[in-house]
Subunit: 342 residues, 2 copies
DNA sequence: ATTTTCGATGCAATCGGTTGCGTTGACGTT
DNA sequence: AACGTCAACGCAACCGATTGCATCGAAAAT
């Protein structure tokens, strides 16, 4: 494109050979004289020749591009995942095209459409909060398109999923709170239609049960947005309405945990003396706030890299998606800071 | 691609017409009978036909894809910009392909190469910290490729740049500190080869001078990494070594400001009573920490959207880059929180 | 009845690169 | 001299869609 991008034909014309010869010379095929190869390569260098990837894509029906569909870019965890994706894809010679759904199902579907038009070689998907029906994905899988889901994974049999160990992360976090002597532990949960949310709820419940603490459904409060403002309000209402006040908060994410922490401070409670708080994700700010926020670290970069690695292996037929029986689960790690230690 | 993506030829064969007829029927060209149009569209719908964007790109020498080159994805400000880019590009029918340089000049150059191979229609660039020579960009401009630079803009005459008003942001921040009675104000600056850094330094100096305070070069300390750890150490050293201690910190970014704040707390100083702190960027965590961090907000989303809008207008020849005389500057806004008010 | 007109459609080149197969000519062999 | 061998290269089809320029047949005009 543009004025002056040299093509194989330009080289061929200049050297009075056919374009096939140029093509073969550039790729060191046998059956081309060294002399010709030399001349072709020289001229290619001089003209600053760059193969046209579009033409190649058309011919090979391969674009060496993968499509990433993600709820939000401005999100510490997701941006970390993107970084991992970008690194791995780049090192294996693939491009990354990116769309964010802003949590809208409609944009998820239209993203798929434009990506299909662009002949991408495979999808990396973390679905939106609105997505409850996964047919638009299973249709793609049936048609044979490679897809790897990460973090927000759908309930589709035989889908290749990469997640972190949400269950164990939650279990560890809540166990830690219990060991520190907290008993009435609130879980500020995520939307119930997300597997990550239900897994964390499961971890929360199991940790309580493992320590002989009865589960009180009133202590599981949904914070669908996951913002600090939302959880701040929710927490205040909770403190106002409950006869016996909670003594700890386990947030589905760090923003929710911070919101709870701020609400408790507003209410005159001290963290960690009166209230223990643990978050999930280990966002950057956890170590910057006072007191430092304990949090369950999720390896976002590794998740992106691993998902990409799987996808490219599937695309390049190095592995068969049907051989992957269960979800890939990456370990989480509880990082203990001041907010939960008394 | 893949098994079963229908093409125009499939439709043509099935209907016993030529592919030209199908192409024209789909686009409602005159000269095709209504009957044929109906049949073609019906079958296209049934076969779930999607035009092959790759073939179109080859034919038109246009890919409807723009390339974004950015230092880091995991960065609140840049991810916000990406979000703006993605929104604007998407709404105008363009794809976004993304690469991060991780602040490496080499990756900046290789990104350009692969993007050129992929026939992208234009570039959006924020250059790396390593980049001090801009020839690889000016060469592209000479060849006629549309480029819009944002935030980290190069010193190339006639380049189209989108920045925020770094100078005024810094000027306002420092003026505010002075008004609050702080006098010995340290500036934790960014790398000197970035225009954004030098502009902020200029704003810092001018604010001091405007209030009749002498500039002390020892109070301008470079924090090239811009991490909280780095500035925490730098600040500690500063507190240890100076005979007359500073009473305020203006950070080149929020991380640096937080680092300073933490170091001061470690040192037994109170914020804002003993030390005033102002950051730059207004990251999410500014309102979550205690005390809340005053900061200069930069409109990242708007910057991304504006830069994309300009780029697409140049690509579509709606505007001529040469008509854009000066840099586009977006307003900054000082948000005052507790960290700088006594 | 012959010519003109025009609606409806097909042919073939094109974008840039790849690749199976055929062609050419120099050389060696019998 | 006649034939086989092989290195070196060209031809043309192909990937999917677009588009200027035929072409064809039937209705309208003469």
């Amino acid at each position: 494109m543009k004025i002056g991008q040299a093509t194989i034909k330009d080289i061929a014309r200049e050297l009075n050979v056919s374009s096939s010869t140029v093509s073969r010379a550039l790729k060191d095929y046998p059956g081309i004289s060294d002399e010709t190869k030399r001349k072709v390569k020289e001229l290619a260098e001089k003209l600053n020749y760059r193969p046209n990837a579009i033409a190649l894509s058309l011919r090979k029906s391969r674009s060496f591009t993968i499509g990433v569909i993600i709820p939000e870019v401005v999100h510490f965890f997701f941006s970390t995942v993107i970084s991992g994706i970008e690194e791995e894809a780049n090192s294996r010679g693939y491009n990354v095209i990116l769309t964010q759904t802003n949590e809208k199902l409609g944009r998820e579907k239209s993203s798929i459409d434009t990506m299909l038009s662009n002949q991408i070689d495979g999808f990396l998907v973390s679905h939106s909060k609105e997505t409850e029906d996964f047919e638009h994905f299973s249709k793609l899988l049936d048609q044979g398109y490679p897809i790897v889901f990460f973090d927000r994974v759908p309930q589709i049999p035989h889908a290749v999923n990469v997640t972190v160990d949400d269950y164990k992360g939650a279990f560890d976090a809540v166990s830690h709170l219990i060991q520190q002597g907290y008993r009435r532990i609130v879980h500020l949960s995520g939307p119930k239609n997300l597997t990550i949310s239900t897994e964390r709820i499961r971890g929360y419940k199991d940790a309580l049960m493992a320590h002989g603490i009865e589960i009180n459904k009133k202590l599981i409060v949904e914070c669908p947005l996951g913002t600090d403002d939302e959880s701040r309000k929710t927490t205040r209402q909770l403190l106002e309405s409950m006869e016996e006040r909670p003594d700890a908060f386990f947030g589905n994410n760090d923003m929710a945990a911070v919101g709870a922490m701020l609400a408790c401070k507003d209410w005159g409670l001290r963290v960690p003396e009166d209230i223990g708080v643990v978050g999930f994700s280990n966002w950057q700010f956890c170590s910057m706030i006072d007191p430092g926020l304990s949090s369950v670290a999720q390896p976002g970069f590794q998740m992106g890299a691993k998902a990409t690695q799987l996808l490219l292996d599937i695309i390049e037929k190095k592995i068969n998606p049907e051989d992957i029986k269960e979800s890939i689960t990456l370990p989480t790690e509880l990082l203990i800071r001041k907010s939960s230690v008394r």
